[in-house]
Symmetry: C2
Subunit: 213 residues, 2 copies
């Protein structure tokens, strides 16, 4: 769910090149419209190499969700917002980072897992499960900070998993609204959506009570 280029090393072997081609093609045209031939051409590898690494296009889709999740998860795990002392500042810092990462056309900031889910949730149980893992691992990574912020503000920590999922919900919806716009207006639409999410958190936690816990 983060811009493609700055956060991953250039892929070396055929497998890595095929996964990078998958990221780009799924973002541009979706998973169903992407053929094995297109993946091979974009990666600059032979069809033999494809089937050496993946038993089928579906198998590449499953691996792609994991590849996406690992690379984006690693980026967020190392992001500076974790250094804020207060838990609520870490949560809001994550949202600010998500806003900052949105730029350019939707294919530069949209989510590979969300796109594959939209099309393939019923036609491939394996892809659905892999995308569920990708999105829910992003949500889970936020739960501890949200739970601590809830406790700091006298709110029930049991709300944390649902709030973490809601962050992913709004981000996924933001990408759909962004895709509805001309390329030069897409980023503003997505940032607006995450801005509303940030305001929800501010209202829920109540800035006036900050520091009183």
């Amino acid at each position: 769910m983060i811009p493609n280029r700055p956060f991953r090393q250039p892929s070396q072997g055929a497998r890595g090149k095929l996964l990078e081609a998958g990221v780009r093609l799924v973002r541009e045209q979706g998973f169903s419209a992407t053929s094995v031939d297109q993946l091979c051409a974009a990666a600059g590898v032979t069809k033999g190499a494809f089937f050496h690494h993946f038993a089928s296009k579906e198998a590449l889709g499953v691996a792609l969700a994991g590849y996406w999740s690992d690379s984006t998860g690693g980026f967020f795990a190392e992001a500076p917002y974790h250094h804020h002392a207060r838990a609520l500042d870490r949560v809001l810092g994550y949202l600010d980072l998500r806003i900052a990462l949105i730029g350019g056309a939707p294919e530069q900031f949209s989510c590979v897992a969300g796109t594959m889910l939209q099309e393939s949730f019923r036609t491939s149980a394996a892809i659905r499960r892999a995308c569920e893992t990708s999105i829910m691992s992003n949500a889970s990574a936020l739960e501890a900070d949200i739970a601590e912020a809830l406790a700091d503000h006298g709110l029930p920590a049991a709300m944390a998993p649902g709030l973490a999922r809601h962050i992913q919900t709004v981000i996924q919806g933001a990408f759909i609204l962004a895709k509805s716009q001309e390329p030069d207006e897409s980023a503003a639409m997505a940032r607006e959506a995450i801005g509303h999410l940030r305001r929800y958190f501010e209202l829920l936690f109540g800035p006036a009570t900050q520091g009183e816990a």
Copy 2:
């Protein structure tokens, strides 16, 4: 974005049958994965009939976004929440209706326009524009009530268009999270998301100030 069956008349002619088949197939497997042959088989019409009504699969996609928008828009225009005297109650009534309409598996409550946008936003400018019209007309239909509620609560009415878009954002994201789950857990996931949206509106408008305007 509402369940298929109860809100539309059974389709009569070949055109209507093809559009109904499009609603079902796009919800189940997406637009890219749906072929003209599948549409004809599902509609029980010949390929000749298809090309009599639509110049191409893309042309059906454009018509489908309009058909979807017209049928769902008509349903919401006639819904009972419009009878609430207070504007905020009408806005919350719309959200409650959206929650009530979610049930069953995602293909029974997901959004045809959002699904087509996710895949085709870059590969078909015509489908992107048709889906933009569909989603943004749903948003626009809420603006007057939101603006009146904002004014009632001493908030700037200029926030109305952004809040109306945010409702669509969360609904679209709710469908993605729903699709990440097993069929019997999908509806609860989507309802949770719109529940957070409802809480955002309650917090923003402030229940304590109700009736004071």
